[in-house]
Symmetry: C2
Subunit: 282 residues, 2 copies
């Protein structure tokens, strides 16, 4: 697999770059961004994945979250994947809705037609892209953390839970914690995976928590002025699932904060430190 570097900028004494490549998982060209901290010039560094939310590309967090400052401070590589396959032959929501299709891959492997031709974001994020990162960057793949926002928080939590032993740390900003129990999730899983709700459990953090073989502590920040709080995000479901399973959870309700990148930027330092502390320990 060959990578094309399409942009590169020095940033906090490291390198922020954007790459494209042909993906076998999605059957499309894919774009992602990598921040290499200055420490990467001297050898492999731990990796922090950031999965973005609905409507986002690799770019949103890369330019708005302020994560590079903290990654440079602690010597973490940041990976910013895209949120869906893209291209003229990739089907989109028939109504052009923002919450399904392009920009809304939900980090699943679709099984239903026509989505199952390209929407294999689970394979892309958990298999193909890690291989590509390991082969092309000074990444210490033994030390990985994962975080994300909203749909990307759902992605981070489910991927960490479904890949025990891979990640040293996990966190999320305003995550979708139970797609089985919110309109965004029901729409996405119903279309991508089909009507069998048992199959949805593989992509539901609250369902996965119950059966987790590893009790990796979770940090979640959630604004209490988030427009999506009560209908889509429902952090109390995560709290209940973690309490029932005795799964360690730090859920911080942040007063007055909304769903925007101004919220994410405000708590990004805490998240990078959460991951760096866990990754330093290995």
């Amino acid at each position: 697999m060959s990578l094309n570097e399409v942009a590169a900028n020095k940033c906090f004494d490291g390198k922020q770059a954007v790459y494209t490549h042909d993906s076998k998982a999605t059957g499309t060209a894919m774009t992602f961004a990598v921040y290499e901290p200055p420490q990467a010039a001297h050898g492999p560094v731990p990796v922090l994945w950031y999965l973005s939310g609905l409507t986002c590309t690799h770019e949103n967090a890369m330019v708005k979250a302020g994560a590079q400052a903290y990654a440079a401070e602690r010597g973490l590589m940041l990976i910013f994947p895209d949120t869906s396959p893209r291209g003229d032959d990739v089907p989109d929501d028939p109504d052009g809705a923002y919450d399904f299709g392009l920009g809304a891959g939900f980090y699943v492997n679709a099984t239903e037609s026509p989505w199952n031709q390209h929407y294999h974001m689970a394979d892309y994020i958990t298999e193909e892209l890690p291989s590509l990162v390991a082969a092309n960057f000074p990444a210490d793949m033994i030390r990985q953390g994962i975080t994300g926002h909203s749909m990307g928080g759902h992605g981070a939590l489910t991927i960490a839970l479904k890949n025990p032993g891979r990640f040293n740390s996990v966190s999320a900003f305003s995550p979708v914690v139970s797609p089985m129990n919110c309109p965004w999730g029901k729409k996405a899983l119903g279309r991508y995976i089909g009507d069998d709700r048992e199959a949805w459990k593989a992509y539901d953090t609250c369902a996965l928590i119950a059966d987790a073989s590893e009790r990796l502590p979770i940090l979640v920040d959630q604004g209490d002025a988030d427009n999506f709080l009560s209908e889509q995000l429902k952090p109390h479901l995560l709290r209940e699932a973690c309490e029932a399973a005795d799964h360690p959870l730090t859920l911080r309700m942040q007063p007055g904060y909304d769903h925007s990148y101004f919220f994410i930027a405000s708590f990004m330092r805490d998240h990078v430190m959460w991951h760096a502390d866990a990754l330093d320990g290995n």
Copy 2:
């Protein structure tokens, strides 16, 4: 003058908001953004102006520069103005070029037709908007600093030099230091101000330095991998002008950095601290 708040987000325990208002200076609606740090809840705080570069609006630095984190740390209000008048009746570059007209007001008062009807950004930034800020926000107008990027660095430096006593501190990122001596500046001043090069000196930092009645120290960061370095920015002209006038200048050439917001974000903390240190002293 009434303000319309069109967006507001909690950010680093303060408030990041966007406002529109009808401007007498430009004869158009204008948009600007304000960050109120958490300290502003308890009383007036010092003000740091950030003037943006070509093609930018109020939004670029607001979302990409990471300044709010440091402004919250030190208790500074940030003001992000737009870079030109806008609207259907505002004339633009006849060729649609990015370096003149909309998004390229150069912080001057145009005297030439048709630009002189709306392009009064000098009056807007130095008179109207400060009055509006003083009247509507908990701003300590006795303590002000000013900075900016590229064309906005030109704006910050010239406005500080032309308004002695107003600012306690000034800095710039990759500024246009002598519009009389670069293509961007010659095009803009020639059209906005006319052919009389004597009149251009009022908008040329290097010319103004010679006659400055106040020797406010200047901090400039400039990437040495900046595409515009040799043709447009020419920091050596600023160094020579400051040496000739014995004007205090800290000019830092930053190896490997370009003209992007990744560069600005990398050194924003230094600039906010530069201003905060000066503003704390009063």
